[in-house]
Symmetry: D2
Subunit: 304 residues, 4 copies
C-alpha cells in the first residue's frame, strides 16, 4: 500500500466536498480566520512525509494543547496525577459541570476543559516558570524554536470564557485546585493560544507513534507504557462527545481543537495533522474529520 | 517475543494475587458460582493457542452476549441501525436511565443494557425465530454445537431485573421499541444466559481479530470496515464505566460480563478469554483485569 | 365582600379569553373530550355555593385522585408513610425518573406519578379489596353513590403508560414496592379513571377547608394537623412543575389533573373545582388557571 | 387563644430539647458564634410582642437577606424581573449548578444563591449606590438606624465562596449577568453580612403580614398582590431543599439563613424571628425549626 498515493488522491478530492462546518465564534479572536483554509501533513516514522495545501500556515491549536500540558505534567507527577483527574470519557457535553459536581471536583479526564484546568494547576506547582517551560517543551517536540504564544488570543479567551471560570471555581470549591483561580485560568488560556502549523503538530505528536521516543531529539520523552496510556486517553476522550463516532469512523487516537486542527496518530506508522477551520456541531473540524475518515478507510488501516 | 511463554508465566503467578472481587448476586442463579474458578484461553490467528485452569468449564456469558446480538443485528440492519442506538461511551453508571431520558430513548450505545434491549427489539423483527437463530449463530461462531441457553439463569434474571424492565418501558415510551416490552425482556434474558467456556468465547470473537473473516467456517462474518467498527465500540463501551481504565491499562477492545468473563481482541494477533467470577466494584472480573493488564504489559503490545 | 358576585362576574367574562390550552392526547380515551366544556363549582363552608356552566358534567379526574389515595393511605399508615415517600417539591418534569434514581427509589412526594404508585402499593397491603374500598371512600367524600371507575379510560391508560411502568419498575428495583408491578399499575390506573363533576370534586375536598372534618357525613376524616399537612403538600406539589407559578399567582392549595380539572381549597372559606379540558404546556388546565387567578385576585384573599 | 402564653410555654421548654444542630463552618467568620445562643421575637400586627432569650443580640442574617434584596429589586423592576429568575422550588441541593446549566442560566428562584446573584446584578443597575441604598432600605424596614454591614463576614465570604463564583460565572456565560462577576459577588457578600437581632428581623418582615403596608413608616412598601407573591415564594423556596418539610410541619412562609436565623410570617397575625446557631443537615436552624413547629402546632394556626 502506498500511503502517499492515497494521501494525494484524497487531497485532490477533498475540495469537492461541501464544507458544512462553521468557524468558532465563542472566542472573538478566532472568528477572524478564513474558513477556506485547508492544510494537512503526514509524518511517517520512517522519515517520509506528505503535505498539502496550507500546511505551512500557523493556526491556534486550542484544545490540542491539552495533550501537551498533560504530557509535561505526567512526566513530573507520574501515576499519582490520576488522583486528581480521571481517565473516563466525558459522557455528554452538558455534563461538564454536572458531572464535576456529582464527582466532587475530580474532572472525568485531562482532555476536557475541567481536567486541563487541573493539569495547569499541577504545572503551576511543578514548574518554576510554567509558561516558559511549557513553550520550551512544545518547541522541542515540534523541533521549531519560532513557536510563540498568541497573546491576543489568550487575552481574548480570558476575557470571555466565563464557563471555564465557573468550572475552575467549582473545582476550587472541592479543594482540587491549589493555586489561585485566576492564575490557573491565565496559564490555561496561554497554553491554548499557541500557533502552530500542520507540520509542527505532526512533528510534535510523532513520539506517540514511536512508543514515547522522539527521533529528532533522540530522547525518550515518556516511557513506552505511558505513551500507550496517552494514546488510549486520546482515543476515548480526544473529541469531546464525538469520541465514539471518531473511533468508529476513523479509528485513531487523536485530539481536536476549536481552531479547526486535528492531530492523530497510528502507532508504529505515522502522525498526521489536518486543519480546516469550519467546525461541526460537536466542535470538531468538519473537513478534517472527512479527510481522516477517507484516509483510514482507503488505507484500510487503523488501530482496530 | 513468545506469547505462550508470557502467558504461562502469568498463569503461574496469578494465584499469588489476592482476589478482591465479589461474585455477582443480583441475579440469584449467578450467586451459586464457585469464586475460586479461574480459566483463560488465548487463540492466535496463526492457529496456535494457550490454555490454563478452568478453561473448559462453562459459565454464564451475560453481557458479553451484547456484542454477539449486535453483530447479528448489524448484519441485517447495516448502518441504519445507528438511528436507534448511539456509538458514544455511557458516561457514568447512574446515567443509564438519566441519559436515556435526556436523549429521548436513544441508548448511548449497544453494549449497555438499554442499547442491548433495542438490539433485541431489532432481532425480534428481523429473525423469524430469534432465539433459535441467535443460538445457531453463536454455535457457528464458537464452532460448538453443544451450546445452549441456561433456562434457569434466564428465568432468574427475568424475575428480578426490574431495572431492565424500567429501561425497556422508558425506551418504549419514546417509541424506540417496536415489540412488546415483555418479549424484548424475554429475548434479552435468554441471550445473556448462554453458557460458554473460555475456549468457546475466544473462538467466537476471533473473527474480530481477522477483519471479520472466520477461518473455521471460512466465512466473512461481517465486512472489514464493520469489523473495525465493532472493535472501536468494544474499546469505548465494553467495560461499563471502566472503559477508560481498561483502555489505559490494557489497551484492547473487549467486553466483560457479570458472570466473570472477559473477552478481548488484539487485531491481527489473537483473541483471548479469561474467567474469574469475583467482580470489582465496577462489575468487571477482578482477576480477569489483572491477568490482561499483566499480559499486555509484559508482551508490550496493545492496539496503542 | 361577596364571593358569589365575583364568581358570577368572572364566569361572564371567562369566555372572552382565548383558550390557548390543548386537550391531553397521551391517553387515547381522553382525546375524545370536547375542548369547549367549561364548568366551575364553589362550595363554601357556610353551606352556600355557586355554580356555572358544565358543572354537572362528569370528567376524568386523573391526577386529582392522587390526593384521595393519599388520604386513604395516610389514615391507615400515619406518619410512617413518609419513610416511603418524601414531602418535597419535584423540581423539574424530566426529573421524575432522574431524581428517583438519585434518591434510591423514594419518590419526592406522593402527588407525582412515582409517589402515587407507592401510595397504591400501600393500599394494596392495607385494604382487603383496594378498588372497592377506594371507590367507597370517594363516594362518601363526594356524597354521591353513583360515582364509578371508567374502565375504558383505565384500560386505555394501562395499555399506553410505559413511563409509569418504567417508574414502577425502577421503584421496585430499589425495593420500595412490595406488590407486583402490574398490580400496582392496575390500581393506579383505576384510581385515576374515576369520573366526577365539579360539584363532586368540590364536595370531596371540602373537608380540607374545615380542618379535616366532613360536615356532610359528620365525620372527622383526618386529624386537624394532618389536614393542614395535606394542604401544605398540595401547595408545594399539586401542579407538577408549575407549583411555584400557581402559588404565586393563585395562592391556594390544590391539585390538577390532565382531564382538565383543578380543585383548590381556601381553608376556613371554601373548596372550588373548575374544569376546562385544554391544558397549558405544563399539563394544567389553561382556563382553569385563568379563572382561579382572577378569583383570588378579585376577592383579594388567598392563604398568603 | 393566647399567643403570648403559648410563646412563653414553649420558651420554657425549648432548652430541654437536645440541640442536634452544628454551627456553620464554611464561612470562617461564622464559626466563632456561640452555639448556645437562643433568641426569639414575635411581633403581632396589633402592636403586641413577645420576646425571649438572646433576642436583642445581633447575628449574621446571611440568606435571609435574599428576601430583602428581592423586595428592593421587585419594587423597581416589577413583573419583568421574572424574565431573569424563576418562581419554582429548587429541587435538590446538588441541583443548583445542574439545573442552572439545564435551564440556560435562569435560576429557579430568587431565594437560592444563584437567583440572589441575579437580583444583586439588577440592583447594580437600578441603584446609583447599591450598598448604601440597600442598607438604608433595611434600616427603614427594621426601624433601626444602627444596622451595619459586617465587613469581616463579607470579606470572609468573598475569599472562600468559590461555589458562588462558579454559579456567577455560569450565569454570566449564559448572558444573564450584566455587570462584572466580581462586582456581583461583592454586593452579594455584603448584603448577606448584615447583623440584625430577632427583633430587627421580625420588624423588617412584618409588612409581609400586613399586605405590604408598613405600620411603622406608614408606607405601602409593596402592593398587596406583590406582598402575597413574596409570601408564596418564601413558602416554596425559603428553606433550601427542606421547603416541603417546613411547609408540612410549620406551615408559614419564611426564610432561613446559615447564621442560624429563621424569620416567618403568618399573614394578618404576626411576624416571628428565631435564632439558634446550630444547623440541621439541610442548613436550617435545628432549634429554630423545633420552636416554630411547636408554636404553630400548639396555636393550631398556620396558613393551611
Amino acid at each position: 500500500m502506498n500511503y502517499h498515493k492515497i494521501f494525494a488522491d484524497i487531497c485532490s478530492e477533498i475540495h469537492q466536498k461541501e464544507d458544512k462546518g462553521v468557524v468558532a465564534s465563542y472566542i472573538p479572536e478566532l472568528k477572524k480566520v478564513d474558513k477556506d483554509k485547508f492544510g494537512v501533513y503526514m509524518s511517517m516514522i520512517n522519515g517520509e512525509h506528505s503535505a498539502y495545501g496550507d500546511w505551512e500556515e500557523k493556526f491556534s491549536i486550542q484544545s490540542i494543547s491539552k495533550v501537551l500540558t498533560l504530557v509535561l505534567a505526567y512526566k513530573s507527577e507520574g501515576e499519582k496525577l490520576w488522583k486528581r483527574v480521571g481517565v473516563e470519557p466525558p459522557g455528554t457535553p452538558f455534563n461538564s459541570l454536572v458531572l464535576l459536581e456529582h464527582e466532587n471536583g475530580i474532572p472525568r479526564n485531562p482532555l476536557i476543559n475541567a481536567g486541563a484546568l487541573v493539569i495547569c494547576d499541577i504545572l503551576l506547582d511543578t514548574c518554576s516558570n510554567p509558561k516558559e517551560e511549557f513553550l520550551d517543551f512544545v518547541r522541542e517536540l515540534a523541533g521549531n524554536d519560532s513557536l510563540e504564544y498568541n497573546q491576543a488570543v489568550a487575552e481574548s479567551e480570558k476575557a470571555t470564557s466565563f464557563r471555564n471560570a465557573a468550572a475552575a471555581n467549582l473545582i476550587k470549591s472541592f479543594g482540587n485546585l491549589k493555586n489561585k483561580v485566576d492564575d490557573v485560568l491565565d496559564l490555561y488560556a496561554y497554553t491554548c493560544s499557541i500557533d502552530m502549523t500542520c507540520a509542527d503538530l505532526a512533528h510534535s505528536f510523532q513520539f506517540l507513534a514511536t512508543d514515547g521516543y522522539d527521533k529528532k531529539s533522540k530522547k525518550q520523552i515518556i516511557s513506552v507504557s505511558r505513551s500507550k496510556r496517552l494514546n488510549a486517553l486520546m482515543q476515548l476522550c480526544g473529541f469531546y462527545d464525538q469520541a465514539g463516532e471518531f473511533s468508529v469512523k476513523i479509528g485513531l487516537p487523536g485530539k481536536s481543537g476549536v481552531g479547526g486542527g486535528i492531530v492523530a496518530v497510528l502507532p508504529d506508522h505515522y502522525a498526521i495533522a489536518v486543519w480546516s477551520p469550519g467546525l461541526n456541531e460537536k466542535g470538531n473540524s468538519y473537513l478534517g474529520m472527512e479527510f481522516l475518515e477517507l484516509f483510514t478507510t482507503k488505507t484500510e488501516y487503523s488501530i482496530f
